[in-house]
Structure formats: structure tokens, C-alpha cells
Symmetry: C2
């Protein structure tokens, strides 16, 4: 650390989808394998990409008050049901829809995530700060072995990122000042919002997150506290 | 498990003060050692016992609406300040008061707690369900190495146990039905309240919790799902 940098944070909050887990590859693999057991064929990558494309718009309806508070599992499910109908995928039961929707609970971490988080946990409090709900993030952590100290999730604040209530609410729950908390993400927009709330920031890129549809977040676009290669490199830069 | 018992729970919530950590011995030791470094003498066991004696009454004022929501760190601090004045303990600074109050963040687990929880975590989601606030429980877990999956704390619900909002709120956050959750505690009253909300229950005694002032909770006084010797025995009975 150079003299111009702030004091090390006491807690690090991680964006989760894309930053800690590879949602796209995980969901395509999970869905393809499940569909094979049911002898159902469809363009699963197209479904997954369309599902994620509706992620921000569905939360924005809640953020703008056009829809009462709805957690991410329920937003995911509404989008999934609409897509299955629009893509005319036949013979999926209610049980199938539920199982597919819970694919978000079974996402797999990027290779550096568990080793990096395990190192950081020795020195810092680590938690997700995600638009997922507690149950989703908890099941994901149990499934993938993510060693979180606490789960900070949108349903605790009844707000979705980038609303300031999420960043400031998480710092308050942890009993810390915003400047004692670092937000880590592979997304510039998330970090700009966190920085506006006074949090420290760490960026590392996930250049294959959106597969062939990736169009941004190849590089840090702001005066972030730390720019790293991945979570292992973040641990190294923070002396963990 | 016999045929008459319910299906195993998916998550186990633990009362914390007294059930997982030995607050009385920890606080007396912590306070005595700290006071020795400051050359301040007082009847520290008496202070700790009086501090805890005001625990339920202070929360009851919040539960009855006589006082707006106040987290446990702040309730503890108000009681501590009053006791230091009443006991006429001299020359403690603001920093000292803050350090002493944070003794609750440094409580030590009973000997069976970490081994038992580590076993249970392999098979179940484990979390505290405590009247402590998130920051207190998180710092305690980091300090003592308690391997929680999530922190369920009173400030998430803005209610103190035994209000049903705590038991039902925790089950909802975990995405589970009340009957899929087990409340574990060394206190009959906590378990009666949890049972009224439909949770499974596990009792094990902590017969030295209150030292010479112990007057109850020597044994299970209700039709609880499981009665165990301690957390290791609970793990054994649940096949973990």
C-alpha cells in the first residue's frame, strides 16, 4: 500500500453473480444436463442469455416502485416461466420449473474464488453484497463451499443495488463506517455506486462472464482503491 | 430417529449467549484482565451478574414499545454506564467503557461448541438466532472461530426473542418452512416460543451458565424434538 491509499478495510463485500460465480456456464451446463435426463431439447444458451438479459429490467421495476418488493428467486421465476412459454418448450412440469429456477442456487465459483476468499477470510470479514436473496446465496455457498462470514442480500434491505440503501445498509449491519468497508466487483457500475456511498472499491475483470455477448467491464473505469487480476490477486495485494 | 419423530431439519438455529458461549466466565475473565492493566479494582463478578440481570428487562422495554428499536450493543452500553456509576468505579474513560462493552463480542465458546457446530455444518445450515446484533455476533464468530453459515440477529427483524417475528423471520430468510428449522437452546423459554411458531426444538443444559446464581434450565421442561447433553451430542443424535 502506498501512503496515499486509505487504511485497509475491515470487511470486504463481494458482488456475486459474475464476480464470484460463473452464472452463464453454470446455468447452461446445469440446464443441459437436466434437460438430457428429461429428453427435452431447446436452445439452452439462448434461454440463459435471455434470462439474464431480463435481470436488470426486472429489478428496475421494483427499484422504481412499479412493483412491490419481490425477491430475486421470484423475479427469476417469473422471467423463466415467460421464456419457456415464448420459446415454446414443451412438457416441463411445475417441478421442472422450480428445479431450473434453483439453478441459480447451484452456480459454480470461478477457479480463483474459493482459494482467494479463504485467504481473505483469515484477515477480513467477507460477505456477499448481492441482489440475490439470503436463501439463494446461502444455498449457493453451501453447494459451492464459499466460506462467507455473513450473507448480505437484497432482501435484508428490501432494495436492489445500485440503491445506496444496500451499500450503507450492509456497512451499518456490520457495525462499520462506509470507509471501513470495501466493495469488490467485476462491474464498474456497482463500484461507482459503492464509491458514491463512501466505500472503498476493488475491481477485477471477468472477461468471459457474458460469453459471446460480453460488451463491457473488460477493464477498470474509475479511480478504484484496488485493481486486481482476480480474487487471489486481491488477497495478495491486501496482504492476506 | 424413531418413526414418530419429524423429518430431520434443513437448518439449525442456535441461541447464542449461554447456549454456544459462556458469557459469564468470559466477561469476568476479560474484565478482570483488562482492569488489572489499568490498576482499577472492583467486584467484577458482581458487575457482570448485574449487567446480565438487566438483559431481559432492557429488551422488554423495546418489546413493549416503551423504547424505540435499540440494538443489544446499545442496550448493553446503557446498562454498563449506569452500573459503573452506581458501583462508583472511578477513572474509566470513554475508551474503557467501549472496550468493556465489546467484551460481549469476545465471548468464548463452551468446549463442545466449535467441534459440534463444525460437524453439524457438514450436514445442515447452521446460524445463530440471537438477541445480539449482527455486528456483535459476527465479531464473536470471527474472534472465537464459530463456523456459522449465516448470522440471524435481532436487528434483522427489529424484534427480540421470544417475539414470533424472530423465529418466523429467520425461517423465511432461509427460504424454509418453520417445521424444516430446528431451534437449539439451553433455555426452556426460548424453545417453548420456537415450538409455538412450528419450529423443531433441541434442548441441552448449561448448568453453570449463571454460576452461583443459576436457578433454572437444569433440564428439559417440554416435549422438545431432541434432548441432548451438549452440541457434540446433538450432532451425534442428528447423524452428523
Amino acid at each position: 500500500m502506498t501512503a496515499s491509499q486509505p487504511r485497509p478495510p475491515k470487511a470486504i463485500l463481494f458482488d456475486t453473480f459474475g464476480t464470484v460465480v460463473d452464472w452463464r456456464t453454470s446455468l447452461i451446463d446445469d440446464l443441459s444436463a437436466y434437460a438430457a435426463t428429461r429428453n427435452i431439447t431447446a436452445d439452452w444458451p439462448a434461454l440463459v442469455d435471455a434470462w439474464r438479459a431480463n435481470y436488470a429490467p426486472s429489478m428496475d421495476r421494483v427499484r422504481k416502485g412499479e412493483q412491490p418488493w419481490t425477491n430475486l428467486d421470484d423475479l427469476h421465476r417469473a422471467t423463466l416461466d415467460a421464456l419457456i412459454e415464448r420459446m415454446n418448450i414443451q412438457s416441463l412440469t411445475e417441478t421442472d420449473h422450480d428445479h431450473i429456477n434453483r439453478g441459480w442456487h447451484r452456480l459454480k465459483p470461478w477457479p480463483d474464488a474459493i482459494p482467494g476468499l479463504t485467504r481473505l477470510k483469515q484477515k477480513f470479514t467477507i460477505a456477499p453484497l448481492s441482489n440475490g436473496n439470503v436463501a439463494l446465496l446461502l444455498n449457493m455457498a453451501k453447494h459451492a463451499g464459499v466460506p462467507w462470514d455473513m450473507i448480505c442480500a437484497a432482501d435484508l434491505f428490501q432494495h436492489y443495488k445500485p440503491d445506496p440503501e444496500t451499500y450503507l445498509g450492509a456497512a451499518a449491519l456490520l457495525g462499520l463506517q462506509p470507509g471501513e468497508v470495501m466493495m469488490a466487483a467485476a462491474h464498474n457500475g456497482d463500484l461507482h455506486a459503492a464509491r458514491s456511498c463512501g466505500l472503498q472499491t476493488a475491481f477485477f475483470p471477468r472477461v468471459t462472464e457474458y460469453g459471446p455477448l460480453q460488451s463491457r467491464d473488460y477493464t477498470a473505469e474509475g479511480p478504484f482503491t484496488i485493481v486486481a487480476r482476480d480474487i487471489e490477486d486481491l488477497a495478495t495485494q491486501l496482504g492476506a
